[in-house]
């Protein structure tokens, strides 16, 4: 299970993985205050992308990605199997 070295690559890969199958993908965030680190994992139970950090500057990036994926999840998909007629 590879840990990504750069946030940019991780974020891009995570979003890409989510878009291939939104229902399968989950995002896991583990924060340890006592150790001072934060781990993010994005997986669809086949592929697993991970990013680990102990830098305060990454908190904002991680929180933004979380928000972005959250909004993607609640928005109605216009492609892939929509039942609405345009």
């Amino acid at each position: 299970m590879p840990y990504y070295q750069t946030w940019e690559e991780f974020a891009r890969a995570a979003e890409k993985l989510y878009l291939t199958d939104p229902m399968k993908v989950r995002v896991v965030l583990k924060y340890r205050h006592c150790d001072g680190n934060l781990c993010v994992k994005v997986t669809d139970n086949a592929a697993c992308l991970q990013y680990k950090t102990d830098q305060a500057q990454d908190v904002k990036k991680i929180e933004k990605l979380h928000g972005k994926l959250m909004r993607l999840m609640v928005s109605k998909e216009t492609h892939s199997g929509s039942m609405e007629m345009d």
Binding site: P22, M23, V25, R26, V27, V28, L29, K30, Y31, R32, H33, C34, G36, N37, L38, T53, D54, Q55, A56, Q57, D58, V59, K60, I62, E63, K64, H66, G67, L69, M70, R71, M73, V74, S75, K76, E77
Partner: protein
Amino acid sequence: MVLLENDSFLTELTQLFQKCRTSGSVVITLKKYDGRTKPAPRKGHTESFEPADNKCLIRASDGKKKISTVVSTKEVIKFQMAYSNLLRAHMDGLKKKDKKSKSKKTKATQ
């Protein structure tokens, strides 16, 4: 697993973070949710259930206590703002990167 309203979930999540400041981890999981409340039917039964497309499930745990909430499109804006503030406020134990090291351990005086 306790399913809560968005506001209660945020309150409980704050408490989880506060509890885990000295030891332990807070694990948050985010997943798209289609609103099903019954397990997937075995073969032979037709699924008489309309999958909803606009919800997501958020779970949090400190290893012992588990909480969860469902967020839908109408709530996401408000929830996401409060949630982001919460994360940023509590995940403050990480190292701050500054070029001039202010920590007492690395005293560059010779």
